[in-house]
Amino acid sequence: MYLGRVVGTVVAERKYEGLAGQKLLLVQPLDHVQAPLGPLEVAVDTVRAGNGDLVFLVGSREAALALEPSFVPVDAAIVGIVDKVAT
């Protein structure tokens, strides 16, 4: 899992049917001091995150396990909104 900041939304009208109704957000992955870590990612939102929110995400196969049904082609899911990072 890793930290990220929601920086935008993605609209994709034509997509795999398992992705219908899923909100796609643009996320900047961050390190522990909230400095950018690599390029932007597109992640499915499961916690109603909004633009500017600090969130945490899960990647790989486990991203799809955050969804129902879970056999969907995603590799990043927002699974929490962060109140505070105490490092």
Binding site: H32, F56, V58, G59, D83
Partner: protein, 93 residues
């Protein structure tokens, strides 16, 4: 598994139900001398009660974590990294 140093907790109230009641920590991969080696990430701590500054053993594999939690491998369990031990010593050679 990899060696990591615990940097501190992440506080979150709005989260996937799988994370309820689990401590979520920021961890920094380190080498055998304790120097940073790679990007920091988040891991849950269910059983070992790691604290800030501890060197820990982190597993990054979802199936292994579902087994650790006593869940079927098909469980809806979006957790991918878990602290599985506190390291007393790591020696190369």
């Amino acid at each position: 598994m990899i060696l990591c140093k615990v940097l501190g907790p992440v506080i979150s109230t709005e989260k996937h139900p799988a994370f309820a009641g689990l401590k979520l920590l920021v961890v920094q991969p380190v080498d055998e001398k304790g120097a940073a080696a790679g990007k920091s990430f988040l891991a849950v701590d269910r059983a070992v009660q790691a604290g800030e500054g501890d060197t820990v053993l982190v597993m990054r594999e979802g199936n292994g974590i579902r087994q650790l939690f006593g869940l079927p491998l098909t469980a809806k369990w979006p957790i991918r990294s878990c602290i599985v031990g506190i390291v007393d010593e790591a020696v190369v050679g």
